[in-house]
């Protein structure tokens, strides 16, 4: 089985797992869910580090820096703002 097919299996199964878990998130937490998901989509940082770390020449370097910067906005900004929001959800 090729790497593509393995990837496809993983993708489909992860989508189904995500569906099961996320369907049960209550509407009151939908905004933190979105911003938390935002943060997780910052996982592109993994690819960005690979690309930036072996960049040669101006274009590749610029692409690498931009990719890392954009992904880091999501990672740092996403997790922090989600934490800030969730800190506000209190029961009295």
């Amino acid at each position: 089985m090729g790497e593509l097919m393995i990837g496809l299996y993983v993708f489909v199964l992860a989508t189904l797992a995500g569906r099961e878990v996320i369907t049960k998130v209550p509407p009151t937490l939908h905004t933190p869910l979105m911003s938390g998901a935002n943060a997780i989509s910052g996982i592109a940082i993994v690819g960005a580090i690979v690309v930036a770390g072996r960049a040669e020449g101006t274009l590749q370097t610029a692409l690498g820096i931009a990719a890392v910067a954009m992904a880091m906005v999501n990672v740092i900004g996403g997790f922090l703002v989600t934490d800030r929001m969730l800190g506000m959800f209190r029961k009295r």
Partner: protein, 462 residues
């Protein structure tokens, strides 16, 4: 154990912790810990990458980390809760942009990639990431009011979009050398340009109250783009995390569509705005009963149960703190106070809940549509703040433009007080029958000023 296996196991642990973290979002009590777990999972993935990747130069990585981390940190610290929709909107764009750039960089490093798996996944990642990037910036501009928040349409728009889609497919085939023998790099740049244009066209026809749908959809795309980038560089944790985000966005998109009883296609290709057959001149011409702060205070201060219905107008006026004071004062008087939140109230899923949480309203007082709709017939008074279409009983009329849209059945309460600037219609562009009903009192004025007056009036009640 050799390093490669350790790295792969770390990625696996990271993927597991993302799922565990998301699972904790199922309750407000555990959600914060869940977010921290997901953040730790991200840290693990980054560490594994740093160990594993052949990093020849650290300069670019460090510059990117400082810029991105700085911007993200400052934005997260200072953004106001009323601005969360545009914040999430632009973060979607950065996520999609980062994934697209990973694919672009892979292509630029080896332009003659050919029509194999790598070539196809690179183009897919570039397309989805590019659409997410430009679409999210338009969504941000609309929500931040840098451009009109209304739908922008022009004649032949759908045909034009369809042609662009064909162009993207053709350019893709040409880039991979399946069609013609042009310079792959130049063709690829054209492919990027058309992808970005597609993103713009996806979002400009969508406006106002439809924004929750498009924000959710772009959220889903940002995940799919990350998955595509994972296929490009052959990294499972990217594929898995991207799939989780894609699923989250898709579920929210479906919920938002359901909240308006419209299909995704109907939202995307314009359903509302086509208000032909509605006599606009007649809107707001029927007589209404009005009240003021003192009158409203008396209606909600001497009863057993009050349900508060917040809408986008509350966010615009930033009156959430005053509203919470009204709720607290009523609570002290022994009134049972609940907050009813429609799924599409505001400009993104859960927008109202976050605003009220910021104002320190206890989350167990927030009820969604299904939980509260049966209670309205037993409710003494309903206070509506800046909501319109989601409480319009016309939705029960099969001939109405909003027929079948799930609404909060506020008209079944004994008394309804509507705080609103004027009788102007909501996003659907139709008159709201609720305003003219016998049990409805209109309390006109700016939500913040009116709410301050109401706080004072309730406080002065005997």
């Amino acid at each position: 154990m050799n390093l490669e296996i350790l790295v792969e196991l770390t990625y696996l642990l990271s993927a597991i912790l993302f799922v565990v973290g998301l699972k904790r979002l199922q309750s407000p009590a555990t959600a914060r810990a869940g977010n921290a777990i997901a953040a730790f999972a991200m840290l693990l993935a980054i560490l594994a990458t740093v160990v594993d990747a052949e990093i020849l130069t650290w300069t670019g990585i460090l510059i990117g980390v400082v810029i991105g981390g700085g911007v993200g940190g400052l934005a997260a610290r200072f953004v106001q809760m009323t601005q969360m929709p545009q914040m999430v909107g632009i973060f979607n764009g950065f996520g999609g942009g980062a994934s697209a750039l990973v694919a672009v960089a892979e292509f630029v490093a080896a332009p003659n990639v050919g029509a194999g798996t790598t070539g196809v996944t690179i183009l897919l990642g570039t397309l989805i990431g590019g659409v997410t990037f430009s679409g999210s910036f338009i969504a941000f501009a609309k929500l931040q009011e840098l451009m009109t928040g209304n739908p922008i349409t022009f004649p032949g728009q759908n045909v034009f979009s369809a042609l662009l889609l064909v162009a993207v497919l053709a350019l893709g085939a040409m880039t991979l050398g399946l069609l013609g023998d042009g310079d792959p790099l130049m063709l690829f740049y054209a492919f990027i340009a058309v992808s970005l244009l597609l993103g713009v066209l996806l979002v400009i026809p969508i406006g106002g109250a439809d924004m929750p749908v498009v924000i959710s959809l772009l959220n889903s795309y940002s995940g799919l783009a990350a998955s595509a980038a994972g296929f490009v560089i052959g990294n499972m944790v990217l594929i898995i995390s991207g799939a989780l985000v894609g699923a989250a966005g898709l579920i929210l998109t479906q919920l938002m569509c359901k909240g308006m009883n419209r299909s995704l296609a109907n939202v995307a290709f314009g359903g509302f705005g086509g208000t032909a057959g509605i006599d606009k001149a007649q809107i707001g011409k029927r007589p209404v009963r009005t009240t003021d702060a003192e009158g409203a205070a008396a209606e909600i201060g001497y009863v057993n149960s009050v349900v508060i219905v917040p809408g986008y107008g509350l966010a615009v006026a930033q009156a959430q703190h005053e509203l919470r004071k009204v709720g607290d004062l009523l609570g002290e008087r022994g009134v049972d106070v609940k907050y009813a939140i429609h799924p599409v109230a505001g400009r993104m899923p859960g927008h109202m809940n976050v605003l009220l949480a910021e104002a320190d309203v206890s989350y167990d007082k927030l009820y969604d549509l299904d939980e509260i709709n049966d209670d309205f017939s037993k409710t003494d008074a309903v206070l509506i703040v800046g909501a319109n279409d989601v409480v319009n009983p016309a939705a029960r009329d099969p001939k109405s433009l909003i027929a079948g849209m799930p609404i909060l059945d506020v008209d079944k309460a004994r008394r309804v007080i509507v705080m609103k600037r004027s009788l102007s219609p909501g996003f659907a562009g139709i008159d709201n029958d609720l305003f003219y009903m016998d049990n409805t009192l209109m309390f006109f004025g700016d939500a913040k000023a009116s709410m301050s007056d109401l706080v004072r009036a309730v406080r002065e009640l005997a």
